[in-house]
Amino acid sequence: MVRFASRRLALGIAVTATLTATAVSAAWASSASHASASRSKGLTTVRVVFDWPGIDFEAVPLTVGNARGFYKKAGLDVKIVIPPSTSTTVQMIAAGKGDIGFDTTTDVVFGQQAGIDVKSIANYSQNNNWGLVAKPGRKIDVKKIKGKSIGIFADSWTKAMMPYVLKAGGVTASQVKQPIFGSDDIAPLLAGKIDLATNTLNYAIAQVQSGTGKRPSVLLATKFGAPNVPVWVYTGMNSWLKQHGSQAKAFLSATRKAFAWSIAHPAAAVKDYVKAYPKIGGGLKYSLDGWKATIPALGATSSLLTQRASQWKQVTRALKSVGLLSKPLPPSSYFTNAYLKG
């Protein structure tokens, strides 16, 4: 996964990410004293747990939803909760420290495999925009990766995608170097420490553009055989959804409106986001570049957020084929569109 992080933020992320145990308790403490359905100003609070230990422009629709009153009109007050590391989002909503999760599709599959009854209730993006990134001007030939160093992250999506990279390159894992980064592999790429980086391209493009003013070389993984399945989804624990179905529905309906507005007015939307998070998030230019680069992945406005069973079939098939999933479940175990209606 890609996120641009300012130096100070990267440092803070490194500190928290390495102390997962204390980090989880920190998350417990940090999620404040909001009970699941507390009320403030007559609005119901919904806690959305982000997928990365630092806020960034993918949260634009949520902040727009708050800023432009979409959530208020639905009787909701959405609070974004930042997790302590790149892989604790599922655990946090499972532990009740959040209501809705913003996460990757692979995290849902692995969550179910671990016995956590987490369900995907809406797609964030509709396409797979993950791929390889190189310095501006350098060509990427996936067949020539033998002996090269490819920066990766320790999250489940990367784990699911890398086998496709290796297969396309005709190499085994031992024939390439895959240094693992905590939160930022674009900076080492630009510094020449690694040959290629892996990332979702909206982040890669935004980060390289704001860092060098040029566009990076990119190669979508779907071009060399990776399945075209969405990267991110909104999730919820089945038990919570059953109890708070109307809240979930209201949340998704308002979020869809916020998405549509943000796509139509990207500059204003990003301004709202930067106003809500002035100190962190990378700054105006980076966030605007990033949001603009995200929009193509969101799909047609008419089918925003909607999931297909086929996408889950593809995900489980892909994970099984690379040995990461021993027992694929039927798509209905992973997702439901029920809360998108109404």
Partner: protein, 293 residues
Amino acid sequence: MNAFLRKTAVRLAMAALAVGLIFGVWNLVIFAFDLKAYALPTPQDSVATIYDRWSTYQPLMLQTIKETVYGFLIGAAIGFCLGVAMAASKIVQRLVYPALITSQAVPVVAIAAPLAILLGFGLATKLVIVALWVFFPVVVNVLDGLARVDRDLLNLARVMGAKRTRAFFAIQLPATLSPLFSGLKIGATYAVTAAVIGEWVASLPYGLGTYLNTAAASLDARGVWGATILLTMIGITLFLVVTAVGVVATPWERRSTARRGIRSLFINKQKGARRWFGSLPAGSRSESQSRPR
């Protein structure tokens, strides 16, 4: 030999009991707090995971052991040399000591990331991080050991005509052995944790620390705890090895007599007596007059 076997058997039994106790408490915690498997698997599951995935764990474990042991040795050597240098010169001591304490006070996670940028993602960064944690208790202990050598003993050596370097190697250096091993034992306990943190920022080649990261990312709790058990074993083993070497290196700490060496076979007391007593036969003075006390 019998007593030795019995002692060893008792020690092994106590170790097994200790492990059993830990596993028992572990299971109890899971039961008492109703922890799900994805949060904390049982020790049995974790051990089973080690068996199942041994082919995966083994190269990772070897890599982490390599980093831990090499880093430990480097840290020990640096710590020892630094301790000796600081004992030899008050100026060096005053200059270096504050820097040493700062090096320990700065959180290693803050140093680790810039270190990886400087030294890369390979072995070097990890060795530095492990050595950083190991060398400090060694320095402190060696310094203390050297400071505790009796001034009068050094004066006595001088009176006997010893040169300073001779006295250093014969009197001061061996005096560092006992405190050195105390310091090494402490360093050994930290070494594994330092290696894991090193692997988090400098991940090539993959070790158990990197595995912790990636397993946690796919909610693979059993993988995480299997690796954790292996890491704990590495740490304990290193500690025991260091302790054992310390026991062998400092026999006077727990024995009354030295083991009879080959040399003792060649000592001829009659020949030696000639220097002192000339023609006096050895033992001519009755023992009662020179009563041993």
